[in-house]
Every structure is written in C-alpha cells, then in structure tokens.
Amino acid sequence: MSTWRRLHVKARTARGLLTSGPVTERHTWLHRHLPLCQSLSTSTPLRNDFFKDLEAQLAAMRKKAADALPGSNWSPFEINPNLPPERADIVIVGGGVVGWSVAYWLKKKEMVRGGVKVVVIEKDTTYSKASTVLSAGGIRQQFSLPENIYLSLVSAFFMRNINEYLGVLNEDPIDLQFNHSGYLFLANEDVAHIMEENYNTQLDAGAKVKLLSPTQLKDKFPWINTDGVALASYGLENEGSFDPWTLLNAFRRKAISMGVIQCRGEVTDINYTSQLLRNMDGDQVELRRIKSVKVQMPNSLEYQPVDCAIVVNAAGAFSGKLAEMMGIGYGPENTIAGVPFPVEPRKRFVYVVHCPNGPGLDTPFLIDYSGVYFRREGLGGNFIAGASPEESEEPDTSNLEVDHQFFEEKIWPSLANRVPAFEKLKVSSAWAGFYDYNTFDQNGIIGLHPLIPNMYFATGFSGHGLQHSPGVGRAVAELILDGNFQTLDLSMFGFRRILAQEPMLEKNIV
C-alpha cells in the first residue's frame, strides 16, 4: 500500500516538474522537433545552440528529478551550508589541541572507514582565546606522578614520529620546530628532597634526567647565579618546546582528511533525558543522558540541534560551562550531583623580553623555585618568561588584558637574581592566556561523570595540556571505542578522586 502511494507521489512530482518548465520553450520544442530530426548531420551553428540548450535543460530536469527522489537531501528551503549535520555519532565540543587529538584518534581507531561520524564544534576558528595557541609550548618529563611522566613519554614518541601519524599523503611534511633545549628545575634547600624523590620516580618511569649540584650547575651554565640553589634537575632527552599552532593544525588537517567534520558554532545548550534510580542506601540519584546539543551559529540567531550518542567535553578553560549545562554541582549537598566541577579559567601572562647579552643556544627551559620560568625564543636574543600568581592575587578572567605591573614586581626581580644578564632587558611584547585550571588538584580530568553516561571529559590539564594531548586523545578514544584504557591506564585521572575528595597533586606544579 505504502509503496503504491510513494509511486503515486513520485509520478506526481515528476509531472509537476515537467509542467513547471517555461511554457514558451516547451512549445518551440514541440514544434521544431519533427522536421529537424532528418537534418541532424548538417546542423548549422544555430541548431547547435539549440541542442546545447536542450541538453542543459534535460540535465537540469534530470537533476531535479533525482533531487526529488526519496533519499536525497534536497529540500525546497535554502539551507545554510555551514550548519552542522543533524545527527552524529560523536560530538566533540572544543576544537583545541585536545579536541582535535581525540577526533584524530577516534578515526584512527575506527574499524571501518566512516564507521563513526565525528563532528568537532569550535566556536572561534581564529582561536583568539584558545589556550593551545597562547601557551608556552613546552614539553617535559619532569613530573612527580608516574602517569604524567608516561603521558609525556608517549607524546615525545608521537612527536618524534609525527609524520607517520599525522602526515597527509602528498602534503608537506610537518615540522614542529621542536627545540631540544631540555628543562632545568632549580630547588632550594626546603624542596631539594622532593626533587630527589621526583628524580627517582622519573628514572623508574624511563625518563632521561640528571641531577646537578650547584657547582656542576655553574660549570654547565656559567651565566646562572647559583645563590640559594641546593639542587638542580636537568632533562637530557625529549624535553624542550615546539610550535603549538603546528601541532594543532597537523591534528586538524589529518583528522579532516580522515573524515572528521569540522563545524563552526557554539554549544549553548544540551538536551538530555533523566532517569531516576535508587542507590544501595535507598537515596534517589538522577541519571542524565544527552540526546542532542544545540549549536548556535556565529553572528546569527540560527541554531541547529545535533542529535548524538556521545559528547566529548574538550572545551578547555570553559569546559565548566558545559558541566553546568548538565547540572553538575547543582544537586543537593553531600550527593554526587552536588560536587562542583572544578575546572575554571585562570589567566596567565607571558612576556617576551629582548636581552642580547642573555644566555645563548644552550638555554634550557628554566624553572626557578620562586615559580618564575623562562625559555629562549628564536635566535635573536629573545626570551619568553612568566610565573603563576599567588592564589589570592588571581587576575580577573573576564578579558585577556596583560598586567605589566606583574612583570615589574613579581617576575623581573627573580629573573635578574637568577640570571644577572637579565638586569638589562626590554619587554618587547606580552600576551595572556587561560589555563584550564583544575582547582581541585591541577591535573587532567579524563573519563565519564558517574551521573552522565555519555559525556566524556578531557579537560583541566592546568598548564600541561598541550604536551599531553597526543596521549590523552588516544586514551579518550580507547575509552569510547573499547570501553576501557588499552595502552596506558589513566583511570586515576577519572572523577572518582574528585568525588572521594582525594586530590592527586603534582609535587612540582608550574
């Protein structure tokens, strides 16, 4: 019955199409049709034109007829071609380095080409506020948690072989502009024992690090003032800095070439269904399953709901907003739903200074125990420097303005104390960026929230998200496609520690 009706409709649309053509032309066609048939071979230019017209019209008609067939995506309305698709398997919110890394690994791990439909939604494709492009671009192995060290080692491996992973056929190879400078941590008497502990952990994990006494330090870097330094630890391999833009673009280019859909727009709302369950103690818990996300198009009122099975929250410093949309932290106190999501933006300044007499090619990425850091930038006597402010003096995060006072008061004194050559320097420019700061324990949050079965988190990396993005992307893709971690167990970065109030602090946070 239904087939018959469809046939009928088809016939009607076909007829409609035929009659909708310009009437006059149809007439001429009918009139001239017969007499011309015989003289095809001796066609004049005029007739040639006529046949061309005819062909074009026939082609247009055929196209219209094909469009009108059921199954085509033709519609009588004009559709904005930038709109995201109406349905996707996995929606990744945030097109920073973490988001694109997840997208790439999902595609890399899918069994069949096109097996999962992945959409990356990014509100600002100029990346004017994204942490990725505003970061200092460093990678180090000198962490105190073995998982962080492993992640760095994975990333170093990834970057070493980046063209095997992210190279696109017949495109220029990727050059990360990796500068193998190594990190140099300085410790005073109070924290030297922690440094030693960390050193042992790092060796166990397979990192190449070396401890230096103040004399050895002076020997290696004559330009350092070693006053107050009790111990230094120096990375020998796999440490340095690289260009974050290049990494981000390489991930994006590869992911798009593998079929990930990129879409510009902002996720402003999430549509979910709730389910009330009772736990062992008899308390009610509410499970929220995401049905779709609402994508607001830039500079317009237009929006598009995207139905999806899974959402990945890779919105960086602003991932807290998505958690808020899901009601995390708004439940009654002392329940899981009442524990707030601990990621918020924290503004960090980076200053570019010019100092022609500063240290040379062997400048490491130096991190002083005062919290001040600097590294070389290019070969022309430029350096970038920064520090994290005190908890009580956190700058306002409503904009990305730079506080130059902060450099004069907090950074320069420590800098000039450590490297006397820096007494004479000139700040040539500066910028600010947001840390995706995890206020609970300054480490990444990877995995599912217990009350939302289909939103995966990959955020909160607080200053080391860039370097860990290759490993984190792989881990999240494993969680989604395999159901658990396959290569590197990162379960301790899950929500459990937050709900249980057991922070996993890095003993050397920068």
Binding site: G71, V168, L169, Q177, N179, H180, S181, E237, S257
Partner: protein, 260 residues
C-alpha cells in the same frame, strides 16, 4: 528506503572528493612556488587518490612498508647481544648498515665490502670497545642509535649525509658526552637549529662539522652561537653561500607576491 541506501555511497564519495579538493587548494596556497611539479605518474596517482579511497590506501600502505623496512634494518640487535655481547652486536649492526668502525688501540678500519658483504673478523674482538664509527651515507635512524649506545669510549662519529638522522637523533647523542671528540653531521637533510641546541651536552667535543645543512635558516648566526656554546670546539661550516641564499629567498618572496 532503497533510494537512501543507494545514494549513501555516492554521497560519501562526493564528500570525500570535496574534502580533498579543499585540502589541495589549501596546500597550493601555502606551499611556495619554487617546487617543480611532480612527475606525471605521481600526479596521476594524486589525482586518483583524491577520488578513490583504495588508491589512497594503497599509497599509504606502500609508504608504511617502506618505513617498516627501515625500522627493521635499525632494529635492536638483542639476539646478537645476548649471545655475543653488546660490543659484537654493535659491530655487527654497523657493518650490516654498510658503515665502518675501528677498535680502541687498532689502526685498521673494518669495512663492509661491496654489496653489503663483510669480513667476520670482528667476532674475534669480543668485549672490545669501539673508538671510531663511520656511519656516513647510511640509513641509521633514531632507533638504530640504540645499538651504539653502549660504546662509552667512542671518540669520533661520522654521520655525514645520513637521510634519517634528525634532531631527535642528535638529542640522544648525550650518551657519548664523556668521550666524544669529533662529530660530523654535515649534509644531513633533516637537521634543524632545534637539534643543534642538543649538542650542548658534548662538552668534550673538539671538532664539529655542520657543513651544508639545508634546513638551517640563518647559518651565520647559528655558527656563532655554536661557537659560543662549545668554546673548545673547532667548528667547520662550509657550503653555505650566504649571499646567494638571501637572493634566492628574495626571488621566492617576489614570486609569491606576484601570484597573489
């Protein structure tokens, strides 16, 4: 229903085409005009890749095979090491890569002969350390470096014209920091300034050859910085035609401007 199923593959093909076209134009805008067009068969393959997944798959498979062969050659000589000791494993690796070597206290070099055959004399030198290694124009890469790492009395190392030696390789040379005196990394197409910074560990270096590294952008400055970093070391840097290079760059720039 049937129509939907039928049109799906067509649509996906279509999209794939669009996407690669997009990528293609992006590349064209980015890449400088100095590159000459690839030969016909490469262009044909590219044309096919942009339209069919299978061709793309085949090409990437071939690329992968090539990599695998390279990695295989540079694999860790664990078996030899276990049965004959680390030094013999190192020598075996070097000779199979068509390099040459000299033991501590010897005057004679051990070479591999034509077609990769070599004399098995080195088996007599069990537990003898190497003093000089010449890996010039071989396919040694980061992974192969693992086979050399135990040579703590290595004095000279030549890596002239090795296509696979890159910055990560240089960053690993710190294992020889106590003994290495001479290093030749000239004519290595993949080395950049970021890797040269890693040579800072080699404080005992007396001679360093960094001639003709095509990826170094401002060789004059880099050599000065290297001299500053390794004050005891004599640095050779030939093959950089500073004037010519600058002019060439100018030309390329003008060309790009003209295109816009």
């Amino acid at each position: 229903m049937n129509g939907a199923v039928m049109s799906a593959p067509i649509m996906s093909l279509h999209r794939c085409y669009q996407r690669s076209a997009l990528l293609f134009t992006a590349r064209r805008l980015l890449s400088s005009s100095s590159v000459s067009p690839p030969p016909l068969h490469r262009r044909l393959l590219l044309y096919l890749t942009q339209r069919f997944y299978d061709v793309e798959l085949f090409l990437s498979w071939r690329f992968q095979k090539k990599r695998e062969r390279l990695e295989g050659k540079n694999a860790y000589y664990g078996y030899t090491k276990r049965h004959h000791g680390p030094d013999i494993a190192t020598a075996y690796y070097i000779l199979s890569m068509k390099g040459s070597l000299r033991y501590v206290g010897q005057s004679e070099w051990l070479h591999s002969k034509r077609r990769g055959k070599f004399n098995w004399d080195f088996l007599n030198y069990k537990d003898k350390q190497l003093q000089d290694i010449n890996m010039s124009h071989t396919l040694i890469n980061y992974r192969g470096m693992e086979n050399l790492e135990n040579q703590r009395s290595l004095r000279t190392l030549s890596l002239r014209g090795c296509p696979e030696v890159d910055d990560w390789f240089l960053a690993r040379l710190h294992v020889f920091q106590d003994s290495l005196e001479e290093l030749d990394i000239s004519h290595c197409p993949r080395i950049t300034t970021g890797g040269l910074a890693a040579l800072r560990h080699l404080k005992g270096l007396q001679r360093l050859d960094v001639s003709s590294l095509p990826k170094i952008s401002s060789p004059g400055l880099v050599v000065i910085l290297l001299e500053e970093m390794l004050p005891q070391c004599q640095i050779t840097a030939t093959g950089y035609d500073y004037m010519l290079r600058q002019e060439g760059e100018h030309e390329a720039e003008e060309h790009v401007l003209g295109q816009r």
